[in-house]
């Protein structure tokens, strides 16, 4: 029952929120109150979760396909649900202040609630169909949130782009899920996993008996490897889209047009991270398919480095954070791609957990700073951290965590785990471990560099110190809570909710070294200058344009599709319909001809017709008979 409550509460908050949107006070009460309730339920569920408990769903009668619609709760999912609920609550509380004067606050809060519900559904789903439901609803909510300020053309465009890019990728996701479900005749997660896993023990035994590999596979009823790889690649395509990985990376930076709380929600705990959750759920099958792992590995390796570089060179700090999200999500996914089958994907989930905390902190803080400074560009934000003590602390902790400084903060620890997992994967050499490892190391350096840059810019000394007045205490409180959690959140490892190995000191040393290199590079221009301007002046405009990928999307996808659409519309009216009109015209013409032939009405013609008709009919009859 608990998982249903977990999903139901935010959805109820959304419905109530829409109903009460006229009354700001009630809307706030509903959003925050039910958000808090959700968090409470999530924490309780996490605390009480013991092993894996499945809650039976209503079930659908869909012919041959079994659709139980079950939910499941185990400690890992509990932990994830808790952090999702926490971030959501933080965002809700923050929004009450941030969107105080917005005439559409009610809709916004309701959408955030729905978004939270959808993410929680993905987290606790034990049914692939429910996963799709949560997945798609998140996409729709992101459309609404990003386009919230629809009076701005850029926001409208960004919302459209976000939804369309992810939706295109979802073609793969939906097809992959359908294919997996079709193989099992069920959408239940456990039922799907069973037939697609390689019966390793059986195959080993058969091989030991001297059977050929092909025979062993057939005899043990092993799944069709190529089909499985195809389906998993399809699923991964969907995940790449939702998580803004190459080649779908471009929508996320544009999504910064949305209100900052929405960005915090999308980036920190929900949509972009959801892919990791789904892949972790599918990990037992995924781990068996090297092709799919390679596919994911290459994509995330490219993404994490590229996004980190782009982040470094952004003029807009909010966009820098967006690109850092892309990079960090790639890090999470890289753990899934590289993890050896025995290890599991929990390193990625752990990084998701910590990323949720520090990224929400960073976003909420920078939103406040931007409000104080009047813009999100690096120039405008210079020194804006001085507006409040919590901002300075928050930025420090947040960027440290982002850079992955070990042990001090959550981000560092989880990144260590990812590195270790990748190393294990590389050692076992069955998958993209080496590639991922190299990319991780390089990315760590670049991440350290842009984290340093961000901190430097935000805390620079400026003459006119921005001030933040009228910020309610509760917002301060929220940020402080997030700061605390960012510092101490890594203790979650001790709860055992995430199955991760010990991290060796050697790795810590290595990463400190790498981070040090990154920081050092960033500091080359001194403490008072923007490292991006120092190091990558030429690269900045290119990076701001996202390497021109947007143009590529338009040239390669949008324009051809529209051209095709115009062609189809033309063919529809001028060819398909032409037959219809043509038959009408032909009938009229025949009528005209017939009427014309009978116009003179000569009696001799009537007689001639009769005689000719008889002779022809007679001849025809006699011939047909003989």
């Amino acid at each position: 029952m608990t998982p249903w409550l977990l999903v139901g509460l935010p959805v109820a908050a959304a419905v109530l929120g829409v109903a009460l949107r006229r009354n700001d006070l009630l809307a706030r009460a509903v959003a925050v109150g039910l958000g808090a309730a959700t968090l409470l339920v999530a924490v309780l569920a996490w605390a009480l979760a013991d092993g894996s408990a499945v809650s039976a769903g209503p079930g659908l009668r869909a012919g041959e396909l079994a659709v139980p619609l079950d939910l499941v709760l185990d400690p890992t999912r509990g932990a994830l649900a808790a952090v999702v609920a926490l971030v959501a609550l933080a965002v809700q509380v923050y929004s009450t202040w941030y969107l105080e004067t917005d005439d559409r606050y009610g809709q916004f809060a309701a959408t955030v609630s729905l978004f939270t519900g959808a993410m929680l559904l993905v987290v606790v789903s034990a049914d692939l169909l429910l996963t799709v439901v949560g997945w798609e609803v998140m996409g729709w909510c992101s459309y609404l949130l990003i386009g919230h300020w629809s009076r701005r053309a850029a926001a409208r465009r960004a919302a459209l782009k976000a939804f369309l890019v992810t939706r295109v990728a979802d073609i793969g996701f939906v097809l992959g899920i359908i294919g997996l479900a079709a193989g099992a005749g069920s959408t239940s997660l456990s039922a799907v996993l069973a037939p697609w896993r390689r019966p390793t023990a059986c195959i080993d035994a058969a091989l030991a008996d001297g059977a050929l590999a092909g025979e062993a596979l057939t005899a043990c009823g092993a799944p069709d490897g190529a089909l499985r790889a195809t389906l998993l690649v399809l699923v991964v395509v969907g995940i790449l889209g939702k998580s803004a990985q190459v080649p779908f990376q471009d929508w996320l930076a544009d999504a910064m047009e949305g209100p900052t709380p929405a960005s915090a929600l999308i980036h920190a705990a929900t949509m972009v991270a959801a892919g990791t959750v789904v892949l972790a759920a599918l990990f037992p099958v995924f781990a068996d398919s090297p092709a799919a792992r390679w596919f994911l590995g290459v994509a995330v390796a490219v993404t994490m480095l590229l996004a980190a570089l782009l982040a470094f060179a952004q003029t807009d700090l909010k966009r820098m954070l967006a690109w850092s999200t892309v990079s960090q999500v790639a890090v999470m996914l890289s753990a899934v791609a590289a993890a050896p089958p025995a290890d599991g994907a929990d390193a990625g989930l752990l990084h998701l957990w910590s990323h949720a905390l520090f990224k929400s902190l960073l976003f909420l803080a920078i939103g406040w700073a931007a409000l104080a400074a009047g813009g999100t560009a690096a120039m405008a934000l210079r020194g804006s951290a001085a507006a409040a003590p919590v901002l300075r602390t928050g930025f420090l902790v947040g960027f440290l965590s982002l850079a992955g400084v070990p042990l001090v903060v959550v981000g560092g620890l989880s990144k260590e785990h990812v590195l270790v997992t990748a190393w294990d994967g590389a050692v076992q050499a069955d998958g993209p471990g080496v590639l991922v490892l190299v990319a991780l190391v390089l990315t760590a350096a670049v991440t350290a560099a842009y984290s340093t840059r961000g901190y430097l810019v935000l805390t620079a000394h400026v003459r006119q110190q921005p001030t933040a007045t009228g910020v309610p205490a509760v917002v301060h409180g929220v940020l402080w809570v997030l700061v605390l959690l960012t510092v101490f959140g890594s203790l979650v490892v001790l709860t055992g909710s995430f199955a991760v190995h010990q991290v060796s000191a050697l790795w810590m040393l290595l990463s400190v070294l790498v981070i040090g290199v990154g920081v050092a590079v960033a500091l080359r221009g001194g403490f008072d200058r923007d490292p991006a301007q120092v190091l990558a002046r030429r690269f900045v405009p290119v990076a701001d344009a996202g390497l021109g990928v947007d143009l590529l999307y338009r040239r390669v996808v949008a324009t051809p599709v529209l051209r095709l659409a115009r062609l189809v519309a033309f063919v529809d009216t001028e060819v398909v319909d032409a037959y219809v009109r043509g038959s009408a015209v032909a009938t009229r013409a025949a009528g005209w001809a017939g009427a014309r032939l009978h116009r003179a009405e000569r009696p001799s013609a009537a007689v001639g017709l009769v005689l000719t008709g008889v002779v022809l009919l007679g001849a025809l009859g006699v011939l047909a008979w003989s």
Binding site: L611, T612, V615, G618, A619, V622
Partner: protein, 170 residues
């Protein structure tokens, strides 16, 4: 070839020649007259086939009444005494009509000729028998026929009568 066959052939040729001329001549009155010849030939053929009553009625009604009517009608419609140029048809139409006739004759002959396998003895049916059947078995169509004649006469009279000068024909 029996004598009957010979007689039939003679009257048949007369009928066909008469018919041919009746169809082809350009003089309208000649056409009617040639029709008389053809009908006489047909009557002869019928006689040979043993249907005296039919032959007699044919001559009486067709030659005696119908052709006379036709001649009157030709005169009333001011048909010329010489060739009728007003109603001349073009050569194509004539050829077409000829072909149509040939086709008809051919079609009929092609289905009928296979039926004529050898000579048969002529079945004799006396006029008495015919009369008995006509007024016994066929009395119903006979009465209907009288109604037909009555209606035709009434209709023809009314149709042919000149309209009243003051009639309000619309």
């Amino acid at each position: 070839m029996t004598a009957l066959d010979t007689a039939f052939a003679a009257s048949g040729v007369l009928a066909v020649v008469g018919g041919l001329l009746a169809v082809t001549t350009r003089h309208v009155v000649h056409a009617a007259l040639w029709l008389v010849v053809a009908l006489l030939g047909v009557a002869g053929s019928l006689l040979v086939l043993g249907a005296e009553l039919v032959a007699l009625v044919l001559v009486l009604v067709y030659v005696g009444a119908v052709v006379v009517l036709v001649l009157f009608a030709l005169m009333l419609t001011r048909a010329p005494i010489g060739p009728d140029l007003a109603h001349a048809v073009g050569p194509w139409r004539a050829v077409g009509a000829g072909l149509l006739g040939l086709a008809t004759a051919g079609l009929l002959a092609s289905v009928l000729v296979p039926l004529a396998d050898g000579s048969v003895s002529r079945a004799e049916i006396s006029t008495d028998q015919v009369a008995e059947q006509l007024f016994g078995t066929w009395v119903w169509p006979f009465e209907l026929l009288s109604l037909l004649l009555l209606a035709a006469l009434v209709g023809a009279l009314t149709v042919a009568r000149r309209p009243d000068p003051g009639g309000t024909a619309s």
